[in-house]
């Protein structure tokens, strides 16, 4: 089973600009994990600070979509916007001694890793709903085999093999290869 074709980032941006609220909701859903991860993993903000930055980033995106020169570049633009918003928040709250750390190579490495993670997540969207569900539940939501099995109505003993098959398909998507695998999901 293949997934429905998702709009591209550029298509979403164009529809948001035209006032399509559904497109906005999709855009937020698509990038919410990425923005959240930059805030929490990249800049170690938590609690109310993290939430404020998260809302602030999307408010800025909403206000400034019209200024985006290239609709395909929403992803790096959003990453940069999130980074700047985090830095502004930290600078407002802390002394100058930590400013250099905010631009450290460690932050760059984390953001590069999250960018790779988003690429993998984009590829995930092209897999079957079953594969998306089982991989997301196991890796991103950290659910046990038993929880996944109960939620999806499949034997817990088959989860490991499903994960392995779905990961192989995901790798196939990413490398552009067609990986033959059983169709059981």
């Amino acid at each position: 089973m293949s997934s429905l074709i998702e709009p591209t980032d550029a298509q979403l941006v164009e529809r948001c600009r035209a006032g399509d609220d559904d497109a906005w909701r999709t855009l937020v859903e698509r990038f919410s994990r990425y923005v959240h991860a930059i805030i929490v993993q990249g800049f170690r903000l938590h609690g109310a600070d993290a939430e404020d930055v998260f809302q602030d980033v999307f408010a800025k995106v909403y206000e400034n979509l019209g200024k985006l020169r290239d609709d395909d570049s929403v992803r790096p633009w959003l990453a940069q916007l999130t980074r700047r918003t985090c830095i502004d928040r930290l600078r407002a709250a802390r002394d100058e001694a930590v400013w250099d750390e905010l631009e450290s190579p460690e932050v760059d490495e984390t953001l590069a890793r999250l960018d790779d993670a988003l690429t993998v997540r984009d590829a995930l969207a092209s897999l079957s709903a079953d594969c998306r569900e089982v991989l997301d539940r196991f890796f991103a939501r950290d659910e046990s085999y038993r929880t996944i099995g109960d939620a999806l109505g499949i034997p817990a003993g088959t989860i490991a093999s499903r994960i392995s098959r779905c990961l192989t398909r995901l790798r196939g998507e990413l490398t552009g290869r067609k990986v033959e695998a059983p169709t059981s999901g």
Binding site: W24, S32, A140, D142, L167
Partner: protein, 83 residues
């Protein structure tokens, strides 16, 4: 990027869901924005209303029948703040 299965698992693990309430609040930005624009427009026309907003934002909005949630209040504070 390394596409071995272990690395793929780690990259999937790197993007857990954001708190659903945060996502929902961000998704509801457009309708909130409409209410916010109305309040700001009125504050620009009505000096007394603006004065009351600046003095006590939540009370002024409640007195006028606006049911403003925290993200709207934060956005209003930003937009009403002197340049």
């Amino acid at each position: 990027m390394n596409y071995d299965l272990e690395s793929l698992g780690e990259l999937l693990r790197a993007l857990p869901p954001a708190p659903s309430a945060w996502v929902q609040a961000a998704q509801e930005l457009p309708p909130r924005r409409g209410a916010l624009d109305d309040i700001v427009a009125r504050a620009e026309r009505d000096v007394e209303f603006r004065r009351r907003l600046l003095a006590d934002l939540e009370s002024a909005l409640a007195a006028e029948g606006y049911d403003a949630e925290p993200p709207v209040l934060d956005a209003l504070r930003r937009r009403l703040a002197p340049e």
